[in-house]
């Protein structure tokens, strides 16, 4: 009679001829490694990281405008002009890049924007006196930290239209609060209205416009981003040398160093699947 084989069962007590710590050849046989891992290409990752640096440049430009306004280099009329130009160009880009031109959609956009602008104009006296009793240093510190928080938690993926993510909500709130804080430091009501309109235009509608451009043509998106980066670097150079160096360093880090790093450590990825995994339900749970 041949010796009994080891079976992968728990019943029947100790299997005769085998210890409890016997490790069979079939140990870890059903383990599957790296089943869902995507092989990444360096060039593609660098091109994808351009959208992050594009947004970084947009935020730097906004901060630049704030600085110039606070130093009274920009007057309120020039700010209002900037707002109108941005609004029109944004609308133009959305119109040109939209595949289906729906008149209803256009009218709804127009109505929403006008409600928004009217509301801001009515509320601007409130924002003007918001932080009168707080010292300037606290305002600058708070604004800086809020802008940094906004950049960290921002949703850089292509699905910018669905703000269902918890962190993307926080980042949006941070950007709005920082623009209101800056606005409250300005002398007149019109200043406040202009700067708040400018900041909110960029923070709320900027990602959407960028997404439309990217969807339409990737080359256009790349050209737009590079142009923006060059413009930002040029303007920041005019403001302060140290900030220029910092911005350049961050752009190089995000665009070149991080993709290379990601590809390097991708080799160590070890995804383990096996019979011990929790089963995934194949249907959606409708609450």
């Amino acid at each position: 009679m041949d010796s009994p084989k080891w079976r992968k069962v728990a019943y029947g007590g100790m299997q005769p001829g085998f210890d409890d710590n016997h490790t069979d050849e079939s140990f870890l046989e059903e383990m599957i490694m790296n089943a869902n891992v995507v092989k990444r290409d360096l060039v593609k990752v660098i091109l994808d990281s351009v959208s992050i640096s594009q947004y970084l440049c947009i935020v730097s430009l906004v901060v630049l405008v704030w600085t110039y306004t606070l130093r009274s280099i920009f007057t309120e009329t020039s700010l209002l002009l900037l707002d109108i130009i941005l609004l029109c160009s944004g609308f133009l880009i959305v119109l040109l890049t939209a595949k289906r031109l729906s008149f209803d959609l256009l009218v709804s956009y127009f109505l929403k924007t006008s409600f928004f602008i009217t509301g801001l104009y009515v509320l601007s006296p409130v924002y003007q006196t918001l932080t009168r009793s707080i010292s300037s240093d606290s305002i600058w510190a708070l604004t800086t930290s809020l802008v940094v928080l906004h950049l960290f938690l921002h949703n850089y993926s292509d699905s910018t239209l669905e703000f269902t993510n918890f962190t993307s909500n926080i980042s949006l709130n941070a950007s709005i609060v920082s623009s209101l804080l800056i606005a409250s430091r300005l002398p007149s009501r019109l200043h406040v209205f202009a700067i708040v309109l400018f900041s909110l235009q960029v923070f709320l509608f900027g990602p959407f416009v960028g997404y439309c451009v990217k969807k339409y043509s990737f080359r256009l998106h790349l050209c737009f981003s590079f142009g923006l980066m060059v413009l930002t670097l040029f303007l920041v150079y005019g403001l302060h040398r140290l900030l220029f160096v910092l911005l350049l360093g961050i752009l190089v880090f995000v665009n070149l160093v991080c993709p290379y790093w990601l590809i390097r450590i991708q080799e160590y990825k070890f995804e383990i699947n096996g019979p011990w995994d929790e089963a995934k339900l194949c249907f959606n749970i409708s609450e």
Partner: protein, 455 residues
């Protein structure tokens, strides 16, 4: 299966064992029952067992349970999911006192999710005791909680003498998570108290088929699968009734399903069933349905099989290893597959004899057998060599580039704190508990053999 008699066993060495876990009576669950039954059988085998756990409500201090099982309810309140607050070194004094008072020779920790267990094992290793760890659950690798838990497990198991898992799938999972060599992991399954879970004396009528579900109604236990499966089965088989015992966040969904398909007379929801009443609920059914999404070892299935029910379960984790193929019908965790499996089970029902099934389960599983196999693990643990702190540190260093050094630092500080304690309160000053022999009364000497019915 031949068991050695108690007389032969009494010639081998007897140990004094400390069981540590956050999970014990008055909670009921897999880990709790495992510790209790294992301790009782080890006491019957002649060892001394002490249990250490945290305080439950007002239940704090020392309690004695059946057979002289001493339980230390250490006055730490649980802070998250029945776990004590992890303070790293806060438990060192109390663990040292218990180990010295009870003259413990070996510590046995249970459940990777228990912070008290990890801390006690760490202190025990610092003080030079032999340590055994039993893992009762399966964990993933991908989410943040699992990654941290696995790192903590790696730390604890870097220096454990032996480890035990409750199924072969659980062994694979533990080896991958902790990096232990597979030869150091023993597979000793749970068992079931067949004296408590008995089939009814008269067989149930077969005009109406009753399917029993007893589980916590949470996502992990597949309550959502139940919501999809029950209406289909009720539509397909007009003579089938469901009894659902248990409570949880998903109970609302089940009630909604019941209302939506008008199944009030065909689906009974019993609410939370206390452990003592589980058997009476089980014996009122023909089929037991288990829909959990992950299980290291499902004791509920064993209890159902011991009561003579045919089991239908999802094929996850260690479930395929628990019962022989003719006592269980397995299905993928997919509603249509499960409905097919239930149909197959209904057709198999006439061939099932509950009493025969109960006798088979009695032969296949017994806590006495589990205790004997655990004894072998203890012997192996004692044969491991004693090592000083310096010899043990390299094992921690191999846990990772940063983590290894951090773990070494933690152990060195523990070692220093231990010596500080020894200077402040020397070993001699700690009173040793006198030996109380609970088993010396004649009525306790009835042969505890698994083939006798204890009714």
């Amino acid at each position: 299966m031949a068991y050695e008699t108690r007389d032969k066993m009494s010639q081998k060495g007897k140990h004094r064992i400390l069981m540590v876990s956050d999970f014990f009576y008055p909670n009921f669950g897999g880990v709790e029952n495992h510790i209790y039954y294992l301790s009782q059988c080890l006491i019957k085998l002649g060892h001394t067992v002490v249990v250490m756990t945290h305080a439950y409500g007002n239940r704090s201090g020392v309690r004695y349970m059946t057979g002289g099982l001493k339980v230390y309810y250490v006055p730490w309140k649980p802070f998250l999911m029945q776990n004590t607050l992890p303070t790293f070194y806060g438990t060192l004094p109390i663990v040292r006192t218990i180990l010295l008072r009870e003259r413990i020779s070996l510590i046995h920790g249970h459940q990777a999710f228990s912070t008290l267990c990890h801390e006690a094992l760490m202190h025990a290793r610092t003080m030079g005791y032999k340590v055994v760890f039993t893992d009762h659950s399966l964990y993933g690798f991908a989410d943040v909680g699992s990654i941290h838990m696995n790192k903590v497990l790696q730390f604890t198991l870097a220096d454990v003498s032996q480890a035990i898992c409750v199924s072969h799938t659980s062994k694979e999972n533990t080896v991958l998570r902790s990096g232990l060599p597979p030869e150091r992991v023993f597979v000793i399954p749970n068992a079931v108290d067949t004296a408590m879970f008995k089939p009814p004396r008269e067989r149930l009528g077969s005009s109406e088929i009753v399917i029993v579900v007893i589980s916590r109604l949470v996502y992990r236990k597949g309550a959502d699968l139940l919501v999809e499966v029950i209406p289909e089965v009720c539509a397909l088989h007009p003579n089938v009734r469901f009894i659902i015992g248990g409570d949880g966040p998903k109970r609302v969904r089940l009630e909604e399903m019941r209302e939506k398909h008008s199944l009030q007379d065909r689906v009974d929801m019993l609410g939370a069933v206390p452990h003592a009443k589980v058997q009476s609920v089980l014996v009122s059914g023909h089929i037991f349905l288990n829909s959990s999404l992950t299980e290291a070892f499902c004791i509920a299935i064993l209890e159902a099989a011991s009561c003579g029910l045919l089991t239908v379960s999802t094929r996850v984790g260690g479930v395929p290893e628990v019962l022989p193929d003719d006592m269980i019908v397995l299905a993928k965790p997919d509603p249509s597959d499960m409905v097919q499996a239930i149909t197959k089970a209904i057709h198999l029902l006439p061939q099932i004899d509950p009493q025969a099934m109960h006798c088979r389960v009695k032969k296949l599983y017994s806590w006495y057998d589990v205790a004997k196999r655990t004894e072998i693990v203890y012997e192996r643990a004692f044969n491991c060599s004693n090592q000083s702190l310096v010899e043990r540190l390299p094992r921690y260093l191999s846990c990772g580039a940063w983590a290894g050094k951090l773990f070494c630092l933690v152990m060195i500080i523990d070692f220093l704190l231990w010596h500080l304690l020894q200077m402040w309160k020397p070993d001699k000053e700690i009173e040793v508990v006198p030996e109380i022999d609970f088993a010396s009364r004649p009525s306790e000497e009835a042969a505890w053999d698994s083939s006798t019915d204890e009714s």
